[in-house]
């Protein structure tokens, strides 16, 4: 684990001496995953930081910047869209309930409110679907390239 240098030193967080009681199971698993045994298995804390130089290097990668700016814009757009849809529904209920009580048409008892409610449920699912589709295609490809580059 060459990445596990912590930038902040905290007392008592060193990984040494923590893994005294290796079981056979964890030994085999470590070997299978190519870790040296007993070696230094990451502690609860240790896997949690990346070498600052590596982090800086990845952050400077133009593909990383592309990924982050595209994805965060997209994430926030989708989140705000969901909130707008939901709050439009809630504020309608709070301020203009009679509009929601109106019938969809002649000869039906179904109200505008019920249709809107169902549409909000469907919108929640459709938005997650659209997001997952784009993330699976575009964002994962970019991430894979960044990872490859960081090796």
């Amino acid at each position: 684990m060459g990445l596990s240098i912590r930038p902040i030193s905290r007392k008592g967080l060193n990984g040494i001496e923590i893994y005294r009681n290796f079981t056979d199971a964890s030994r085999t698993r470590n070997l299978r995953q190519g870790r040296k045994w007993p070696g230094k298995k990451p502690t609860n804390r240790e896997s949690s930081t990346m070498h600052p130089d590596l982090a800086e290097r990845i952050q400077a990668d133009p593909r990383f910047q592309e990924l982050v700016s595209k994805r965060s814009k997209y994430n926030w757009t989708m989140a705000i869209l969901m909130m707008v849809i939901y709050y439009a529904f809630i504020l309608f209920i709070a301020f203009n309930p009679t509009a929601l009580a109106a019938k969809l048409g002649e000869g039906t008892v179904i109200s505008v409110g019920i249709l809107m409610g169902f549409l909000v449920i469907i919108a929640a699912f459709v938005l997650t679907g659209i997001y997952v589709r784009r993330a699976n295609r575009e964002f994962d490809t970019l991430t894979a390239q960044i990872k490859e580059n960081a090796k």
């Binding site: 008592g12 609860n44 804390r45 008892v109 997650t128 997952v132």
Partner: protein, 550 residues
């Protein structure tokens, strides 16, 4: 562990004992045999799974996250299972039965938190976390104080949720199976201890998956039966309901549930952001192998939960038509036997007789068991991983010892849950789930969100913000009508709003912001510098926890 078969045997003995007493006074209360048989089948199957899972649960990682190898579809079902509690099944169907449209407002609120969770948190959470959400919140901050606050807030949420589930379980089982309240609570407690202690996250996940499939199939069958009676015409179904309901056309429009805009917005905030702060939900994101599976699991969960809420809406209307006019389901005062929350249960009888009633009753019981197991595991993880291993032992503990401790914590929590369930039997617990969501949205969510997104957050800000949100939410709920008047019996509430989130969420964010920007310590500077490494990992998953291969 030699105690394993012994404990299993003890659990089965408790069940058998309950069965005997049940048979003894069954004659009086009218015991539902199909329900009992189906429930026992469920218990045997899930104990079998627990036995299988126990052999595969060897490390702390296995115990907390099922080894991290759960697929997106499985986790989606399990998330949906965690979320579709008996309270939301029977409660929302009952709300629709009584108020029509208003029931839809609640279910939509419960659903819309999921897309928000996906867009803002799910993948980053997976990339940064290990076992609990406190891992993420304390990633670059000082372990001891941040974990302590996160664990306390988690335990408050888990306790509120658990009390609501245990009391609901006891009452429901009393009505459905004719079993005394105390026995019902003990059976639920003992079974959940068995699942979680021996099978860890793997058993809990599979119990959740099975229950989700049973619940979705049962609800689908009921909704189809209702629609079939009206030739699959929604219009015909709604027309009949409007004709029969004493409220007539009012059931198609917003009623009294949402009184003023502030309450409406506040409830919406708690529901929307509360999901992203529920420890038992957040924990599930560490059971999948990577960010992609985490993302897929939210898609599946949103689909299943949305579908389920549409079903409960149809079921509620079905109950208006098939149950509300049938004297068999009404008491002397023309009210539904067992209250409005029994609407779905009575409808199952109207549709499929004793057999289908038995099936739905058994599913409701299974639902409670699965949800309390998930909650207990989340609570036990907060105790063992956060409080014991990282706060008390300062991280100086090997994983085997930590796992052993988490099993003790599970047993202790299970016993506490049984006592709380018994203690709160006669209390009005309607506010509990609302409070759980409010605390989740006001303490857990703000710390988690700021830790991931804001470089400026420091330990001081996170601790004061988290505690501020937690205390504000609890105090406002205590002073509102739901506790101050309905539980404590005072004449007039002090705070006019039932839902605190519109106040407590800003309190958390503002405190966290203020005490971070004024924190000029060397530690604060180091924590802000460490953000870059965290940011890169949260975006790319480089260095993230992987799955173990079994």
């Amino acid at each position: 562990m030699r105690m394993r078969p012994m404990m299993m045997a003890a659990g089965l003995a408790a069940l058998a004992y309950a069965g005997v007493t049940l048979a003894a006074d069954g004659a009086k209360k009218g015991v539902n045999m199909p329900a009992i048989i189906m429930f026992i089948l469920f218990v045997i199957a899930t104990l079998g799974i627990t036995y299988w899972a126990a052999k595969r649960t060897r490390t702390a990682k296995d115990f907390y996250t099922a080894g991290g190898g759960i697929t997106g579809l499985q986790n989606g079902l399990a998330l949906a299972g965690d979320y579709m509690s008996a309270a939301s099944f029977l409660g929302i169907a009952g709300l629709v039965f009584a108020n029509g449209f208003d029931g839809l407002i609640y279910s939509i609120g419960f659903l819309v938190g999921w897309p928000i969770m996906l867009f803002l948190l799910a993948e980053k959470l997976r990339n940064l976390g290990k076992y609990t959400f406190a891992d993420v919140a304390s990633y670059r901050l000082s372990q001891v104080p941040v974990r302590a606050v996160a664990a306390v807030a988690s335990l408050v949420v888990v306790a509120m949720y658990l009390i609501a589930q245990m009391v609901g379980a006891g009452k429901l089982i009393e009505v459905l199976f004719g079993l005394p309240y105390t026995y019902a609570v003990i059976i639920v407690g003992v079974l959940m201890i068995l699942y979680v202690t021996f099978g860890g996250m793997l058993a809990t996940t599979w119990v959740q998956i099975i229950k989700a499939i049973l619940l979705l199939s049962g609800a689908t069958f009921m909704a189809l039966a209702v629609l079939w009676a009206f030739g699959f015409s929604f219009d015909a179904m709604f027309s009949k309901a409007v004709e029969i309901s004493p409220k007539h056309d009012a059931i198609m429009a917003p009623g009294s549930l949402v009184k003023d805009p502030i309450s409406a917005i506040s409830l919406g905030l708690a529901l929307m952001f509360g999901v992203a702060g529920l420890p038992h939900i957040l924990m599930r994101f560490f059971t999948v192998s990577d960010a992609k599976e985490a993302r897929k699991s939210v898609l599946f969960a949103t689909g299943f939960i949305g579908y389920f809420y549409i079903l409960t809406f149809i079921i509620g209307f079905g109950a208006i038509i098939m149950v509300s006019t049938d004297p068999a389901y009404l008491d002397a005062t023309k009210k539904l036997i067992g209250g409005n929350n029994m609407a779905a249960i009575h409808l199952s009888h109207a549709i499929g007789g004793d057999f289908f009633l038995g099936f739905i009753s058994a599913v409701a019981f299974a639902t409670i068991l699965a949800v309390v197991s998930g909650l207990t595991l989340a609570g036990a993880s907060a105790v063992s991983h956060d409080l014991y291993a990282n706060v008390f032992k300062r991280g100086q503990i090997d994983e085997q010892a930590e796992m052993r401790f988490s099993k003790y914590a599970t047993i202790a929590l299970g016993i506490v849950a049984i006592f709380l369930g018994i203690a709160f039997e006669k209390q009005n617990i309607a506010f509990m789930v609302g409070l759980a969501f409010a605390v989740a949205a006001s303490a857990n969510f703000p710390i988690l969100f700021l830790a991931i997104y804001w470089r400026g957050l420091t330990t001081r800000g996170a601790v004061i913000g988290g505690l501020g949100g937690l205390i504000t939410a609890v105090v406002l709920v205590v002073l509102s009508k739901t506790v101050w008047v309905d539980v404590l019996g005072n004449a007039k509430e002090i705070v006019p709003y039932k839902d605190p989130a519109i106040f407590s969420m800003p309190v958390a964010f503002i405190l966290a912001w203020f005490f971070s920007i004024t924190d000029k310590s060397a530690r604060a500077k180091a924590e802000q510098e460490a953000f870059t490494a965290q940011y890169v990992r949260s975006e790319t998953g480089i260095g993230a926890e992987g799955a173990t291969q079994h």
